[in-house]
Amino acid sequence: MSQSLSLRAGIVSILLLLAFIGAWWGATLPTQVDLGDMDPEYAAMMGLDSVQESDIPTPGDIGSAIWTHLSDPFYVKGSNDMGIGIQLAHSLWRVLAGFALAALVAVPLGFLIGMSPLMHKALDPYIQILKPISPLAWMPLALYIIQDASISSIFVIFICSIWPMMVNTAYGVASVRDDWLAVAKTLEVGPIKKAFKVILPAAAPTILTGMRISMGIAWLVIVAAEMLVGGTGIGYFIWNEWNNLDLANVIFAILLIGVVGMILDMIFGLLGKVVSYKEV
């Protein structure tokens, strides 16, 4: 039954996609334009032709953009024009660097907050104020103080990934069942051992969920950050193509961002499964 459900869902997905592409194709058909007695030179300067291509790229344009970029993803034609694979690598590097730094700070701090009601109360106001700030709002300040565009974008990733991880870690640590802690106490387990052998495994699924949320946000933010600072990365790629109003390439990049984001999310989903446990 479940197999036939997946099958039917798959068929519906494909039909929806086909319907969407069909409607898109229909809406972007070239139109006949009556140029009247327009000077052919003027028409050429305006990019006008009697058969006018649509402003919005057609499914065919997107297909050819995908093919062009994926068939040669690692070319370097100068410092401002590099293949999509290289751009993607730059973005991923920034995301991973910012994310790793955030994890280094957020997990220990989350532990502290989760284990100590005092620290929880003391730090809570700061977290509540800092958490809702849009990460990009930090960008001008970061650029001014750090004085390096690439490190500033890593900092922005850091600051946006830190909160979900910290809050989830604290929550996971605080919700470890009291009887487990009581057992640990009875067995006279030291505090370090207690943290690693009891609390960490118990809180791991919640921490992983926090990480998964953080990664999702980081991937959203990197595109915007790179559009601001330029240079390299998938966000810069979109900005550069926007400069040229080349929407086919912009749409290609949007699709790619979606696919990569999905893969990142799947990885954290799998990790979450590894550390999850069933309470008995």
Binding site: K77, D81, N240
Partner: protein, 458 residues
């Protein structure tokens, strides 16, 4: 023998293929000198170079010089020559650096607009390489980022809007840092582009309530648009809204109707026409023929710490600017700067900008060969004009010495000397009168000029 050897040594020859005679040509010699490390005592070496050239000019025949030195002895010769020629003064003049490059790998920023043509084309067309520089031209997302990255040294030098070095040097909307206009990049080459819905509303005095895009506050675009509106009785602060929009976003915003028009850099005016979003209302050339737009700037610190590198960079960019000025070179330049690594624009649009034969979006083909032009000389009077306007609109609030500031930032004297060394023509004066919308601007009387405007904050 090298230029730095003793010219009073009778056994050495001063005349051969190059100044030292070891190389086939002067170019080879220069390359070899550039490659060798600093002479231990640079000043002494320079003095020797001066003495060499003086002796060469006094004794075109090397044999005569050797005989003269042998006959009278070196110290007598020195004294004799010194009475004939002010050797000390010549040595001081030559203190201008001619030594090896302090830094070869450089980062130079640019915004992808045709204003930056010389900075950009110098990369694919080898102008930097010819000077022994390894320059990376860095496409940058906006003017604020250019400001910050020049300020913090991530960029060694950069494409800037002409008012930006002034605002940086004065610390207005920027972290204070002395910054120079080494050369102007382009003159003219901007336009006011209006939304198609205003095709029948061409009189600016009817434009109250509209919203306009400008690329940056401290830009010629802002100052020219304000001037233009004010000349038509529209107060740019009270009657209209001026929005800072990055040039690439201008076309999309115009198309969406978020702005009624913009005074922006090319190719985005022509691109707006090409996209069917608007029409070219007036070229900036028709407001002020020969107005400066963008500059090639660097911080004082960079210039002083890297004098030879800066000279080389100046030579590369000045010669690219002069090359771009020549109309016959434009097609080759368009091919060089159109690709995605640089401007990333369709050639048909760039053609219209650079040749000046263009569609105006109203159904006419217009031929205006001076639409976009390139001229490196940084007139101090341009700086004074910018200062009057920055004061007029309240960007500068305190009393200032116009001529002093302009002279310090717009390096006209330096530029003349360097251009002359390159054998390029340069004006003999640093300041001249300009004609802006039919009104004369006299750089000698900035305050009077400022007070002559009815609309303004000063």
């Amino acid at each position: 023998m090298s230029t730095f050897d003793n010219p009073f040594d009778p056994n050495k020859s001063l005349h051969r293929g190059c100044t030292c005679g070891k190389h086939a040509s002067q170019a080879d010699h220069n390359a070899a000198v550039a490659a060798t490390p600093n002479p231990t005592d640079e000043e002494a070496a320079l003095n020797r170079a001066v003495e060499s050239s003086v002796m060469r000019s006094l004794f075109p025949e090397d044999r005569t010089r050797r005989n003269f030195l042998k006959a009278v002895g070196v110290s007598t010769a020195m004294a004799a020559v010194s009475t004939l020629f002010p050797m000390a003064a010549a040595k001081a003049v030559a203190a201008d650096p001619v030594g090896p490059l302090e830094k070869k790998k450089l980062k130079v920023g640019f915004i992808p607009i045709t204003c930056a043509t010389p900075i950009i084309m110098a990369h694919p067309m080898g102008f930097y390489e010819r000077e022994g520089l390894d320059v990376e031209v860095v496409k940058t997302a906006g003017w604020a980022l250019i400001r910050d990255n020049v300020n913090n040294g991530q960029l060694d030098a950069s494409h800037m809007l002409s008012p930006m070095p002034i605002s940086a040097s004065m610390g207005i909307g920027a972290r204070q840092q002395d910054t120079y206009v080494a050369t102007i990049q382009n003159i003219n080459g901007q336009a006011i582009t209006m939304h198609n819905k205003h095709k029948d509303n061409r009189d600016p005095s009817n434009w109250k309530g509209m919203t306009f895009g400008i690329p940056y506050d401290h830009s010629m675009h802002n100052l020219l648009l304000r001037y233009y509106l004010a000349e038509h009785g529209v107060d740019p602060d009270q009657d209209v809204k001026l929005k800072v929009i990055a040039p690439p976003e201008m076309v999309a915003n115009l198309k969406a109707g978020n702005i009624d028009g913009f005074l922006g850099p090319e190719p985005f005016n022509q691109r707006a026409v090409y996209e069917g979003a608007g029409f070219i209302h007036v070229l900036s050339k028709d407001l002020w023929d020969g107005h400066p737009c963008c500059a090639f700037g660097a911080t004082k610190t960079f210039v002083e710490e890297n004098p030879n590198t800066f000279s080389a960079l100046f030579r590369a960019i000045a010669s690219a600017t002069v090359y771009a000025h020549k109309k016959e070179n434009r097609p080759e330049i368009i091919d060089a700067i159109a690709p995605a690594n640089y401007l990333n624009q369709p050639k048909i649009v760039l053609d219209q900008v650079m040749t000046g034969r263009y569609a105006d979006g109203l159904g006419n083909i217009i031929t205006e060969p001076e639409r976009a032009d390139f001229d490196p000389f940084p007139w101090e009077s341009m700086g004074v004009w910018i200062l009057t306007q920055m004061k007029r609109w309240g960007y500068i609030e305190n009393e200032i010495d116009y001529a002093d500031i302009a002279e310090e930032i717009f390096r006209a004297t330096d530029a003349r000397q360097r251009l002359a060394e390159m054998g390029l023509p340069a004006p003999e004066i640093n300041s001249k009168k300009h004609m802006i919308m039919g009104k004369e601007f006299d750089p000698a009387r900035p305050q009077e000029y400022l007070e002559s405007f009815e609309i303004g904050r000063a």
